[in-house]
């Protein structure tokens, strides 16, 4: 079992080669969870060592933050991350986690329970406050200005890509992304093989990257970016 824990990096599957360049870079530049020795980490946390706590926080905080934000929105996100982290730490200290190599699954269970609890509280609060006529509170889904600008730029690039596709290819993307039809349904109804479907999507992505690169080159940003990378 220890051997399994000490395995430094997962065997790269064939499909891992589909990683985007940014992801590849992120993967190689940061060691990530694959170098972790779970039993050692759990022991440190159990013993209340700061190093263990820090390692645990570094390891899971980003993922937990992402997961909670996706499920519950950005409101009071830091508090929720902190609460979840505390629950995990306390559970480990109490000895609730008997098999350290199951830490990842354990964290997932805690996070999911937390999400369920937050939703339940929200539902309960809404029900309790319904008579107060305070109006409906809606989560603010608006992105920050920087994110909005990025999204606008990407949308414009994607529009260029889509306009260069033929009507049938565009229909396939409309079905998949807008109408949220499953890949199987689209393939069945449009007489496509799975490979054709995958090819179309990857072609669109490749074009997207190509046009994006051209635009960046034309605006001079790309050369600056390359220089920064080189230095």
């Amino acid at each position: 079992m220890l051997a399994a824990q000490q395995k430094l990096s997962p065997t790269p599957a064939a499909n891992v080669t589909q990683l985007s360049p940014e992801a590849e870079e992120a993967k190689t530049s940061k060691p990530g969870f694959t170098t972790v020795e779970w039993s050692e980490l759990v022991s440190k946390v159990k013993a209340g060592e700061d190093e263990g706590m820090e390692q645990l926080y570094k390891l899971f905080s980003r993922g937990i933050r992402y997961y909670l934000c996706r499920q519950l929105g950005p409101q009071e996100l830091e508090d929720k991350v902190h609460d979840t982290f505390l629950i995990v730490v306390n559970a480990i200290r109490r000895g609730d986690l008997r098999e350290p190599e199951r830490l990842m699954g354990f964290v997932r269970t805690v996070v999911r329970r937390q999400v369920a609890a937050y939703i339940e509280t929200a539902v309960h609060t809404r029900r309790e406050q319904a008579d107060l006529e305070t109006g409906i509170t809606v989560a603010d889904k608006k992105q920050n200005p920087e994110q909005e600008a990025i999204l606008r730029q990407k949308t414009a690039l994607m529009k260029n890509v889509l306009e260069s596709l033929n009507q049938r290819d565009r229909d396939i993307l409309v079905r998949f992304y807008l109408m949220e039809q499953s890949q199987e349904q689209i393939c069945r109804e449009m007489s496509l093989t799975e490979t054709q479907f995958r090819l179309l999507k990857s072609r669109a992505k490749a074009k997207f990257g190509e046009i994006g690169k051209k635009k960046l080159t034309a605006s001079g940003i790309f050369s600056v970016f390359v220089r920064t990378q080189a230095s």
């Binding site: 499909n15 992120a26 993967k27 972790v36 997932r108 994607m158 949220e180 669109a204």
Partner: protein
């Protein structure tokens, strides 16, 4: 056991996760993995942005297509709304009306005629050259089918048909009579085999 969570999910698995298309098993694997994998969270964030941009762009392209189609439809009407276009359309409309209405006006309406007297006692006049709708008096006759003949004053048969005695009347529609003078309608019992029917009644009238 832990190994399945250590492998980085494929781009497609992440896409299914973002679009909520992953099945339970895949969801468990991807969720567990991303909780501890910073690089995959980065990938996911990029993918989410990409998918949002794709959705927005697809929506925009679609909207533009619909707008173009709508403009085309409007434009096709506008091209007709010019002076020559309207003149042509008006001309065609008049022509169509003419085609429909002219035959109706030229077609003569049948004249309704009621004949109630016997030969020699009637001097009714019917118009020449118009179809006739004749109502013949059948008082005291038994109900049933009858044969009807139209003959001129020289005894020449101009038309023959059949009808039924209903109540006290026999009604027949007869084509236009093109010669003036005295004419007769005769009612017979229907023919049985080779034998001629019996004459039941005769009505005289003038065509002018």
């Amino acid at each position: 056991m832990q190994d399945i969570y250590l492998d980085h999910p494929t781009e497609e698995a992440l896409e299914r996760f973002v679009l909520n298309h992953a099945d339970e098993k895949e969801l468990e694997i991807v969720e567990t993995h991303i909780l501890a994998c910073e690089s995959c969270v980065t990938r996911l964030e990029g993918l989410e942005l990409q998918i949002s941009a794709t959705k927005l762009a697809l929506q925009q392209v679609r909207n533009e297509q619909f707008a173009k189609q709508a403009t085309k439809k409007t434009a096709s009407w506008k091209t007709w709304a010019t002076a020559p276009g309207l003149s042509l359309a008006g001309g065609l409309a008049v022509l169509a009306l003419g085609v429909v209405l002219v035959p109706q006006f030229s077609q003569k309406q049948p004249a309704a005629v009621a004949l109630s007297a016997y030969r020699g006692l009637e001097n009714l006049t019917v118009p020449e050259g118009r179809p006739l709708h004749i109502s013949l008096n059948a008082n005291d006759l038994n109900s049933g089918p009858v044969a009807v003949e139209l003959i001129n004053e020289n005894g020449r048969k101009l038309w023959q048909g059949s009808s039924n005695i209903q109540g006290d009347k026999v009604e027949v529609s007869v084509p236009q009579i093109s010669e003036r003078g005295t004419h007769f309608f005769r009612l017979y019992t229907p023919k049985s085999g080779q034998a001629e029917g019996d004459l039941l009644r005769e009505f005289a009238f003038q065509v002018k």
